[in-house]
Every structure is written in structure tokens, then in C-alpha cells.
């Protein structure tokens, strides 16, 4: 076997592992339910884990990462068995699909993975403490309830208040256990710590430990985002498979998992797909921003390195909470969590609220750090209008994330309290107002879509001149349009509520404010087209994704006004047309630019570049597949397909379109798999790229890759315009002036 290349061995093992795990899963389903079912979620999940483990084993032998996957599988099984035992003790009957068992499988599996990969590290310690904290707090509440004569147990082992306090304490224990707050506690006790710690770990292990280096944190964010994108994408594939044909075939009424039947699972997957993707977008853009902004500014680090690390680490327990919501009964409200439905969904709803609340803090604190860094840490000569354009986008994004995020946190808290203490904020029976929730919710969640896309549009503007070899057209207009989008974005939220029953006189002003957003967005498009005009366009993978992003975002932009216009929106609201529209904006504004940014800055992080052929396959597979998916969505949406439903009438004749869309969805998934393979494979085996491979004027490309810990050895001064590409005379953007003093203050 030695002569076979690792990749081939890996993929062979992948296939064998998938088949074996699928068969094992089917066997288990037979044991539990007594019937052979080929289309069942359990074998699918088994095959996912089995194939990944087998791939790693085949490709790299019993390496740390393989060990992690093996531990993940074993940990899940042990957790499952333990949960099953506890459930048997408490309920008195053996229930194969007990949520408790799935919950323990999830938590133990995660923890075991990080333990297996590198023993005790910030991630595994944090997760162990999160489990301990959750259980301790839940048991604490249960004991008190039992002492008060209330029921202490529920269908999910503990009662709802116990789970809520448990989830919350789990987050605090995670932060304490992982060491993310160690230095602050030292400061509180009056012990000074050095501004930067010596790096104790080298290679990939440093990513599993607390690090204050913004580049490490940026990569931690990015990899977490890729993980969440995969999870959210897997959820999408599951419910897309069910939608491929009318009637219920896959998520059927008689199947059960996590205490839910098929359609309930559909609701949970659909809801979580939304929120997990949103969190992954926030983390992904935080990753790019964290990695790139200090480099663009010429700073040694972010303004608050500890806060930066804290903001990343708090997103880990947040992600765990979101996944916990799936196994604790799930929820059926969609990502919006509107009451009154969210006021009576299962416990999973509360975990979802807690998870979003926690992830919100990550976003708020990251944004704060970002603004301060840009205001205080710029290099000499970098005046406002000589900043790289991506920095403007990051600032505009941060303004929204810093302020508006509090509103979604507050709205979700209020529903939590309504459920826990009977506080009647949104309960009409007590004089409450459900529409108030929608106002609070959308006051964040509409500007939030600009949080998702503005950094992406910034990436497009940043990369376009490099690959068109021309100055960026209308730099100041682009900079201002980012701010304008952010500010106008605060005034448009009620366009999500045209059909909600809010006062009718609010409709027209919100329609016009929404249409106003098209102006600054149009400015950006005009600039991009004018930048491309007569440029010497050169299209390696990052540029392909930039161009793809522009086209897809244009489609998203053009399908916006019909939704913003009251008369048409009343027809389109809650249809698949909306789904198509926002997938366009998010793919064009985030997914494509995110991939572009990774392909572009990957050499800066690793000193190697990603495989160009695989990159092009990724692009040429994903783009057409995405168009098939989104045009399908909009077509059936216009014809009346409702969103968020598990089944549809065969007489509507949507079966064929749905099938094509499902195929498109799977093709996108395959292309992303290729990307992930390319990403991890190139870290070790990629072609060396230590110089300025894109021939960029930007400061970070003027020094060799990868960047050392404290960035630039020499300070630089800005002496020219950032995007004067292809002009005669050959001006410079930055000039290195002096060695950076006090590297370790």
C-alpha cells in the first residue's frame, strides 16, 4: 500500500468507512425499531462520522487528528450509553431515541475529539468544564425544585429552569476552565501580566490553546466558521433531501430521533440551519477581519488582545449550546424565534436563545476591539482616506454589531423570562404585544444582514484592483457607501413586518427607506464595473470568486426591491422567493468573498498557496450549482411555494424543480468538501509562496510570508494611495522606515 498516494488511500477509506458505518447505522435502526429502512437519518449520521474517521486514518495513519476522530466516535458512543442508562434509571423504560442519550453523545463526542487530538488544551478543558458546569447547575436547580415540592425532572431529564441555568453556567465554566479569563482575574487581584505571552506551543497546537496573537485568533475563528458551515450545510442537505419529492419519504412521521419525529426534525434542522449559518458568517468575517485588519494598519496586534481571545472563545460554548438545542427537543420557529410559538416550543428553544445571546457577545466585543484598533493603531501617514478599503467596511460592520446586537439579545432574554417566570411581554393574554418582539428582533436582525455582507463587499473592493491592475474607481465613494449602508440599515427594519399586523401607516416610510439602500449599494456596483473596465484582468482563484460574488450579489440586489415594495411583498412574503433572494445576497455578499479572501490571504498565514486546480474546480462546481438552486427557489416561490414547510401538494408540480434544487445543493456540498480538503491539505503540501504572489501594493505583501508573531519587523509609513495599480511612474503605497521598537512591551 506504500506506493499508493495518501489522498487515494484516504478517499478509498472514506468510501469503505461510509458504507460500513451506514450498514452499522441501519443495523442499529433495525435493533431499535424492528424494520429495515434504507432512508434513515441515523445511518446518515453514522456514515458521516465513520467516513471522516476512515478518511483521516487512510490518509495519515494514526495521527493526532485520526486519534481525535476515533476518540470522537468512542466518546459519542460512551456518552450515548451513559445517557441511555441515566434515562433508563429516571424514566424506567429503555428509550433508544431518548434526548438525554443524544445530548451526552454530543457533549462527550466533542470533548473527546479535542482530548484525543492534543490532550488537555483550552478547548478540551473548556468543554469538560462546560459539561461539569451545566450538570452542576442543572442538578442544583433540580434539588431546589425537589425540596420545594416541584417536579424536578422533565422529558429532557431535567426541568426547563434547570436546563436554562445549566446552559448559562456551562458557558461561564467553559470560559473559566479554558483559561480565557485568567489574565483578567490576575489583574483584578493586582497582579500584572506581560502584554504578550511567550508562545508556548508551535505548529497547529497553538490553535487549540489560548493565544493573544490576532493572526492565531483569526485562524481559530475561520476554522470554527468552516466547521459550522459544514454543520449548517449538513442540516440543509438533510431537509433538502426530504423536499426532493412531495410526500414524506425521509423525515417520516414514524421515525424518531432526539425525541422528535420526522417533520419536527425538519423544523429543527431548518431553524438551526439558519442560525448556525448566521453564527458561522459572523465568525467567518470576524476571522478575516481579525487576521487582516492589523496587518493592513501596520499594527502589532489588535488594541485589546485578551478581549480578542475572549471574544473568540465565548463563541465555542455558544456553538455547543446551539447544537444542544437540536437534541433537547429542537424547536420549530425558524431562526427568528417569534413568540407566541417560541413561548411554547420545547426546551431546545431556550438553548437556542442562550446560544445566540452568547454568540452575540462574541460579535459585540469583536466589533468593539475592531473599532478601537482602527482608531488608535494606524501607521504613520494612514489618514482616513488612505486606509485600505476593507478597513472601512470593517468599521461600518462593527458599528452595527457593537450596538444593534444588544436588541436581539434583549428580545431573546425577554422570551426566555416569559417562559421561565411568566413575564407577559409578548403574551396578549397578559396585555403583552407579540409585534413588539418583531420590532426588537428586526432592529438587530435587519442591520445584521449588512454585518454579513459589508465585510464581503469590502473584500471585493480590496481584491478587485489587484486583479484588474487598475486603481479602485471612486475610493471615497466606496468608503462612504459602506457607512451609508450601515446607517440607512438602522432605519429599514420594519420591512420584514409588512404582513405582521403592525400599523399600516408604517409601511410606506419603511418601504422608501429600504429602497434607499439601493443607492449606496449601486455606488459599489458602479465602482466595481468601472474598476474592471479596460483593466488587465487576471483571474486566479481569488479573482474568480470575486467576480462570482459580484454577479451573485447583483442577483440578490435585483430581487430585493420586489420584497421591499409593499404591494409585491404582500404576495411574496413567506414564500421561497424570499429564500432565494437572501441566499443570493448571502452567497454574493459572504460566501463567495469569504472563499476569495481565504484563497487570497492563505499564503500570508501559511507561506504556501492553495491548490489552483482544486480551487478552480471548487468555483466552477459551486457557481452553476448555486444558480440552479437559487433560480429554482425563486421560480417555485413566485408560483406559491411556502417557506419552512416539510411537504407540499404534488398537484403544484414542484417535484421536478425541487429535485433539481436538491441535486444543486449536493453539488455545492461536494464543492465545499473539495475546498476543505484543499484548505487542510495545502497547509502541509501546498506550493511554497513566500513572496508577493499577487503583486499587491498592500503592506502585508511587502514582507515575506508567513508573518512572524508580532507582524512587521519594521514600521512603515503611508506615502501614497492604496490602489494606484498600473499607473505610469510606479508610486508606492507604503515605505518601511524604522525597525519596530520594543517588540515585547
Amino acid at each position: 500500500m506504500k506506493s499508493v498516494s495518501p489522498a487515494i488511500r484516504g478517499w478509498l477509506s472514506f468510501a469503505i468507512g461510509a458504507v460500513i458505518a451506514y450498514l452499522v447505522g441501519m443495523g442499529l435502526v433495525f435493533l431499535a425499531s424492528g424494520s429495515w429502512t434504507y432512508l434513515h437519518l441515523v445511518p446518515v449520521l453514522f456514515a458521516t462520522f465513520g467516513s471522516v474517521t476512515a478518511y483521516s486514518w487512510g490518509a495519515s495513519g494514526y495521527s493526532p487528528i485520526t486519534k481525535g476522530f476515533v476518540w470522537l466516535d468512542l466518546g459519542s458512543l460512551i456518552g450515548f450509553a451513559l445517557g441511555l442508562g441515566i434515562d433508563l434509571l429516571v424514566q424506567g423504560t429503555l428509550d433508544w431515541v431518548a434526548p438525554t442519550a443524544s445530548l451526552f453523545a454530543l457533549l462527550f463526542g466533542f470533548t473527546a475529539f479535542f482530548l484525543g487530538v492534543a490532550g488537555f488544551n483550552a478547548a478540551s478543558k473548556g468543554l469538560i468544564w462546560q459539561i461539569i458546569g451545566t450538570l452542576l447547575a442543572a442538578i442544583f436547580v433540580s434539588v431546589i425544585r425537589a425540596a420545594m415540592g416541584l417536579t424536578w425532572s422533565g422529558p429532557f431529564l431535567f426541568s426547563e429552569p434547570a436546563w436554562v441555568l445549566g446552559g448559562f453556567m456551562g458557558v461561564l465554566f467553559f470560559l473559566g476552565g479554558s483559561g480565557a479569563v485568567d489574565d483578567w482575574f490576575k489583574w483584578a487581584r493586582g497582579i500584572d501580566t506581560p502584554e504578550h505571552h511567550e508562545e508556548h506551543y508551535s505548529g497547529w497546537e497553538k490553535y487549540l490553546h489560548i493565544s493573544y496573537d490576532h493572526k492565531v485568533i483569526g485562524i481559530q475563528y475561520t476554522v470554527t466558521a468552516l466547521f459550522l458551515i459544514s454543520v449548517g450545510g449538513l442540516f440543509a442537505l438533510i431537509f433538502r433531501t426530504e423536499l426532493a419529492a412531495s410526500q414524506l419519504q425521509f423525515l417520516t412521521l414514524d421515525m424518531k430521533l432526539f425525541g422528535q419525529n420526522g417533520p419536527q426534525l425538519y423544523n429543527s434542522f431548518m431553524s438551526l440551519h439558519g442560525m448556525i449559518m448566521i453564527v458561522s458568517i459572523l465568525l467567518g468575517m470576524a476571522g478575516i477581519t481579525n487576521f487582516v485588519v492589523p496587518l493592513l494598519l501596520g499594527a502589532q496586534d489588535m488594541a485589546f488582545p485578551r478581549l480578542n481571545s475572549f471574544a473568540f472563545w465565548i463563541s465555542v460554548p455558544a456553538s455547543v449550546l446551539l447544537l444542544m438545542s437540536l437534541v433537547l427537543g429542537g424547536f420549530d420557529t425558524g431562526w427568528t424565534g417569534y413568540p407566541p410559538l417560541s413561548a411554547r416550543a420545547p426546551v431546545g428553544m431556550q438553548m437556542f436563545f442562550l446560544g445566540v445571546f452568547t454568540a452575540g457577545w462574541s460579535s459585540i466585543l469583536g466589533a468593539l476591539n475592531n473599532i478601537v484598533t482602527v482608531v488608535r493603531m494606524r501607521s504613520k501617514g494612514m489618514t482616513a482616506f488612505r486606509m485600505p478599503i476593507f478597513v472601512w467596511a470593517a468599521i461600518a460592520t462593527s458599528i452595527i454589531a457593537l450596538t444593534a446586537t444588544q436588541f436581539i439579545g434583549l428580545a431573546f432574554q425577554m422570551v426566555m423570562f416569559q417562559r421561565l417566570f411568566g413575564m407577559g411581554f409578548f403574551d396578549p393574554a397578559k396585555g403583552g404585544n407579540p409585534v413588539l418582539f418583531q420590532h426588537l428582533f428586526w432592529f438587530y436582525s435587519h442591520p445584521a444582514v449588512y454585518v454579513f455582507i459589508l465585510p464581503g463587499l469590502g473584500v471585493i473592493s480590496e481584491l478587485l484592483p489587484v486583479f484588474a491592475r487598475k486603481p479602485l474607481f471612486g475610493y471615497r465613494w466606496i468608503a462612504m457607501s459602506s457607512l451609508a449602508i450601515a446607517l440607512v440599515g438602522f432605519l429599514v427594519w420594519a420591512h420584514h413586518m409588512f404582513a405582521s399586523g403592525m400599523n399600516e401607516y408604517l409601511r410606506v416610510p419603511f418601504m422608501y427607506s429600504t429602497l434607499l439602500v439601493a443607492i449606496p449599494t449601486g455606488v459599489k456596483f458602479f465602482s466595481w464595473v468601472a474598476t474592471l473596465w479596460k483593466g488587465k484582468i487576471w483571474a486566479p482563484t481569488p479573482m474568480l470568486f470575486v467576480l462570482g460574488g459580484i454577479v451573485v450579489f447583483l442577483l440578490g440586489g435585483l430581487t430585493g426591491p420586489p420584497n421591499a415594495t409593499v404591494s409585491t411583498d404582500l404576495h411574496l412574503t413567506d414564500t421561497y422567493f424570499i429564500v432565494g433572494h437572501f441566499h443570493d445576497t448571502i452567497f454574493g455578499g459572504f460566501v463567495f468573498p469569504f472563499f476569495a479572501a481565504i484563497y487570497y490571504w492563505f499564503p500570508k498565514a501559511t507561506g504556501r498557496r492553495m491548490n489552483e486546480t482544486l480551487g478552480k474546480i471548487h468555483f466552477w462546481l459551486m457557481t452553476p450549482a448555486f444558480f440552479v438552486l437559487t433560480f429554482g427557489m425563486m421560480r417555485i416561490g413566485l408560483l406559491g411555494m411556502r417557506r419552512r414547510i416539510v411537504d407540499y401538494d404534488p398537484a403544484l408540480n414542484f417535484d421536478y424543480t425541487h429535485l433539481v434544487m436538491t441535486v444543486g445543493g449536493f453539488l455545492i456540498a461536494i464543492s465545499v468538501l473539495i475546498f476543505i480538503y484543499n484548505f487542510f491539505n495545502s497547509i502541509k503540501n501546498g506550493e511554497k509562496a513566500e513572496g508577493n504572489i499577487w503583486n499587491s501594493r498592500s503592506p502585508e505583501w511587502q514582507v515575506p510570508s508567513p508573518m512572524p508573531t508580532h507582524n512587521y519587523d519594521q514600521l512603515f509609513e503611508v506615502v501614497g494611495e492604496p490602489y494606484d495599480y498600473g499607473l505610469p511612474g510606479g508610486s508606492k503605497y507604503v515605505e518601511f522606515i524604522a525597525p519596530a521598537k520594543s517588540k515585547h512591551p
Binding site: 483584578a188 476591539n369 434583549l410 417566570f421 397578559k430 404585544n433
Partner: protein, 255 residues
């Protein structure tokens, strides 16, 4: 600014601002019981907030030129200051959201609450802000003993406010039938006072931290960012109450 002033005139300024705030609070109460004009109450609250932000929280320091050397304590303090104010801006949105909720659900009505208790806790919090300002002024002029004394007084008053709300006002309101689950008025009352009390509670912890660190002699006339941060945070908590007090106790007709 504190360095341009000598210690006694800085103290005198603190007293003067406190007198202004007291007079305005009394005026607020008078307006509420006589002709109950919401616009005047809002105006008074805004004036009080502006006084606190300028003279107690020293917002103008954001605009101060700090040292050129990016690694100096002065430059880092400027950076920290901006970070703290951005955090407060973010936090202010939580309270703005609560005020929005109150206006949406209760409009121009208010729950039946113990007015005397309301005035009492408001006065206690206002006085605590005065002593906090005195403590910071003392530290800025190198008087560590004065700082510790004033910070301890602030702590005691802050604890008094917290207990006054959570241990006296809450049970009293509940005894009158205003419970968290009794209706929107109860929900709004407990949510607003609860969220504010949580901030007071964290402020008390921070106060203990700086008092303890001052006893260890960590702060100096030039280097006392920790003290400044907690001071600004404490005044911010007071600032929130400047809006919450009229919103809960003064505005609108009794339900």
C-alpha cells in the same frame, strides 16, 4: 482636566454638580406631582445626563491628545478609554431597548409603586455618584487614603441602593400584587429594575476590586486607569437610573 485643576477646586466642582443634580431631581419630582408634563421630565433627565457625562464621567477626555509613543501608559489609557466608552454605548442599547418596551407596553400609564422608596433609592444612588467622583478626584491628586474612604462610602451606598430595590422594593411591590407574572406592568418593572440592579451588582464587584488594589498600593497619581474605568462605569449606572426613575415612577397615569 483634572490635572489642570487643583484638588480643592476639583472637589468644589464635584459638590456644585451634585447640588445641580439634586435640585433637578427635586424639580423633576415637583413637575411630576403638579402638572406631569412628560416633555419637561424628559428635558430634565437629558440635562442631568449631560451634567453627569461631562463633569462626572469626563467624556471630553476622549478627545484629549495622548502621548505619541504607542507603548506609553498615557497612550494605552486613551485606547482603553475609547474601548470603555464604546462598551457603554453598546450597553446603552440594552437600556434603550428596555425603555422602548416600557413605552410600547405601558404608554402613558405607570404601575402603583411606593413613591417614597423610589425617591429614597434614587437619592442614595445619586449621593453614591458624588462620593465616587470625590474618590476619583482624590486618586488623581495622589491622595490614596482619601480615595479608599470615598470608594468605601460609594460601595456602602451602592449596596444600600441594591438592597433597597431588590430586598425592599421588590417584596413591597409583590405584596401589592405587582408580580413578574401579573401582567405587562409587573414584567416591565422587574425587567427594568432587575437589569439595572444587575449592573449595580457588577459595579459593586468592580468597586471591591479597585479598593482592594488601592490597598495594595497599585495605583498612582499618573497610573490609575482601573480607578477611572470603574468610576466611569459607576456613573453610567447612575446615568441609566436618571432615565429609569422617571420612566417607572413619574411618567403617566397610575394604572
Amino acid at each position: 482636566m483634572s490635572h489642570n485643576q487643583d484638588k480643592s477646586s476639583a472637589y468644589a466642582q464635584g459638590v456644585l454638580i451634585f447640588v445641580y443634580l439634586t435640585v433637578l431631581t427635586a424639580l423633576e419630582y415637583f413637575v411630576a406631582i403638579t402638572f406631569s408634563a412628560v416633555s419637561i421630565l424628559v428635558l430634565i433627565a437629558v440635562i442631568k445626563a449631560a451634567l453627569v457625562m461631562y463633569y462626572y464621567m469626563h467624556i471630553y477626555k476622549l478627545n484629549e491628545d495622548s502621548a505619541d509613543d504607542i507603548h506609553s501608559y498615557a497612550y494605552k489609557t486613551g485606547t482603553n478609554r475609547l474601548g470603555l466608552w464604546l462598551f457603554l454605548l453598546s450597553d446603552a442599547f440594552v437600556f434603550a431597548g428596555l425603555l422602548t418596551t416600557r413605552i410600547n407596553l405601558l404608554g402613558l400609564t405607570r404601575p402603583h409603586l411606593n413613591q417614597l422608596l423610589g425617591v429614597a433609592v434614587t437619592a442614595v444612588l445619586l449621593i453614591s455618584s458624588f462620593f465616587m467622583n470625590r474618590g476619583e478626584t482624590a486618586m488623581a491628586h495622589g491622595d490614596k487614603k482619601g480615595f479608599i474612604t470615598n470608594a468605601l462610602i460609594t460601595f456602602v451606598l451602592g449596596l444600600g441602593f441594591l438592597l433597597g430595590v431588590v430586598a425592599v422594593e421588590w417584596p413591597a411591590a409583590a405584596a401589592e400584587g405587582l408580580t413578574a407574572s401579573s401582567g405587562t406592568a409587573g414584567a416591565v418593572f422587574y425587567m427594568m429594575t432587575g437589569m439595572h440592579a444587575f449592573h449595580v451588582f457588577t459595579g459593586l464587584i468592580f468597586l471591591l476590586v479597585i479598593i482592594n488594589n488601592a490597598r495594595k498600593d497599585i495605583y498612582s497619581e499618573e497610573k490609575h486607569w482601573g480607578v477611572e474605568a470603574v468610576t466611569v462605569y459607576w456613573h453610567f449606572v447612575d446615568l441609566v437610573w436618571i432615565f429609569f426613575y422617571p420612566a417607572l415612577y413619574l411618567i403617566g397615569k397610575l394604572l
